[in-house]
Symmetry: C2
Subunit: 329 residues, 2 copies
């Protein structure tokens, strides 16, 4: 079943208006959710929307709240997200970082007391659309054991890096777990095995079974000890720069709310060579002989554009049960 | 065999003075090499020193050259490394970034036409010693196949993130290959198997044999497709920001020289909470139950300090053959 972008956006907006959102905020928030599904990130589009509404009902997200300034020093700004909608807060912060970068070459905006931003890539695309390099990351509730440990004590803290490019922006959007939670949920639902081990089962063996991994809560960090270290660093950066809640504090509070994020924006100087340099890198990467002749080498973000085009033309594929659930909200 | 830090530094300095280095540069460069071995990064200390001297003799590194300003805009600076010694150029750039951060909250310094910086962690520790968050990365010659490809077209581009901490800085220093080249050389020399697959053998099977992986040139990126994407992004960032050579251009030129690097420094505001927040994160991570009771969970940089202390007290362990080689240089 496929739903048009416009219909999906309108449906989200209707539900948000019913749940305390003002007109303009409902519109922006619904657009971000629909765009996430449009771009193929269903786990943080339609599929996550009912969870978001539940958070609203539970009072974990305040639809009226907007960021307020904590303080600022030079090009480092600190904001308090006041537990507002995470995607609106995140969009606001990247906007601030873009403005700083356009004025000064770069800017860094840290926010505390914010909420899940859904698809991190949203804010990378936002920076790239403004002609800027965007780098952002967030912490989460503990969902990843540190290397050498059994119990989750780290977040799978997504890291986004975006570079603007005329023929399609290059946007990396990666959780530091080998598979994001959304991907594991997808595989669990479909019953398919993961292509590569994504964590450990209850007996401590590497596993490709998403359900077993979600049960043991022992997800695998990317690069084993390296991803574990990277997760800790990202948590340190967002916590120190925002003076906000760490993964430890979020976890001890019991729900993934009031998290911390950082948005860095850089406006590259372009003396006419930049586009050529970018094309050289992308083109050279693609000259490697293929392992599987039918599996082309792609740059980060390349498949997003293809999915976007297809979904805009043919409609966005939806899980019918979830779609019905949203219609009933 | 163990050599004192002072003796090692003096020996390096003697060789550098013989190879065209001025007194102060020989001293600084020798200190960085000796510190890398002191901190346990033997692959980029003593073990790499003869290669460095060969690069000097081949004219790939100019001992007299120093960075010259390309241009600057706001807090983004661009420098030309003029093919000078990579570690001196890198130290200079992180110094600039620290100055910018101390004045404005943050700074970003990009350099082109530079050379291998040896241990990337050196510049993370440098920033942390100055009370700053340091983030830096470099490109390299192609030594890593992109995900889905057979031939190396990406670099294993190390990424360094450092956060200052009173009880010992937290410093992540990771190549985006599962094992750095230096580590593979170590395992190849010792004949030990890698603890986890580090790449593919000539038949395309995942392998724990360092020699086979180095032969096939098919190293594994951290997190498979994720590390491949991260490597591409880091190359884009250093190339675009420095207007320098990409991994493609360095590789096509034939030798790992004239590479590009970026140094970002952030001076965190500290209203008295920072130290407590950092301790909370480190302590919480260590509360995870251990997989192996004798293998404690460590934060990035923790073992560096222990190795440093031990090596300063007992002397730095050296490969006797390489040490003799240096004595004869």
């Amino acid at each position: 079943m496929r739903i048009s972008f416009e219909q999906m956006q309108a449906e989200f907006k209707r539900v948000l208006l019913k749940n305390g959102f003002a007109e303009n905020k409902a519109n922006e928030c619904a657009t971000i959710f629909a765009e996430n599904s449009r771009d193929g990130v269903y786990t943080h589009g339609l599929n996550r929307f009912p969870v978001f509404v539940q958070y609203l009902k539970d009072g974990l997200i305040n639809p009226d709240a907007a960021p307020s300034p904590d303080d600022s020093m030079g090009l480092l700004e600190r904001w308090d997200g006041n537990l507002g909608p995470g995607m609106l807060n995140a969009r606001f912060c990247m906007d601030r970082a873009i403005s700083l970068a356009q004025q000064h070459g770069m800017g860094c905006v840290a926010i505390r007391n914010t909420n899940h931003w859904m698809r991190g890539g949203t804010y990378g695309w936002q920076a790239a659309e403004a002609g800027c390099i965007g780098i952002c990351f967030t912490n989460t509730i503990a969902n990843l054991p540190p290397w050498g440990g059994i119990d989750p004590r780290l977040g799978n803290n997504p890291l986004i890096i975006a570079v603007p490019r005329a023929g399609g922006h290059v946007v990396l959007d990666m959780a530091v777990s080998q598979y994001s939670f959304g991907k594991l949920q997808q595989y669990k639902a479909s019953g398919d095995e993961l292509p590569l081990p994504g964590g450990y089962d209850a007996e401590g063996n590497l596993s490709t079974n998403a359900a077993h991994i979600m049960e043991s809560k022992r997800l695998l960090p990317v690069g084993f000890w390296k991803g574990s270290g990277l997760s800790l660093m990202l948590d340190l950066l967002v916590t120190v720069l925002s003076n906000g809640k760490s993964t430890a504090a979020v976890t001890q509070a019991g729900a993934e709310s009031g998290i911390s994020q950082v948005f860095i924006c850089i406006k590259p100087q372009d003396d006419g060579h930049t586009a050529g340099l970018i094309e050289q890198i992308v083109a050279y990467t693609k000259t490697s002989r293929l392992v599987e002749p039918e599996q082309a080498i792609r740059y980060p973000g390349e498949s997003t554009l293809k999915t976007r085009e297809k979904n805009l033309k043919e409609g966005i594929p939806v899980d019918e049960q979830i779609w019905q659930k949203v219609l009933a909200l």
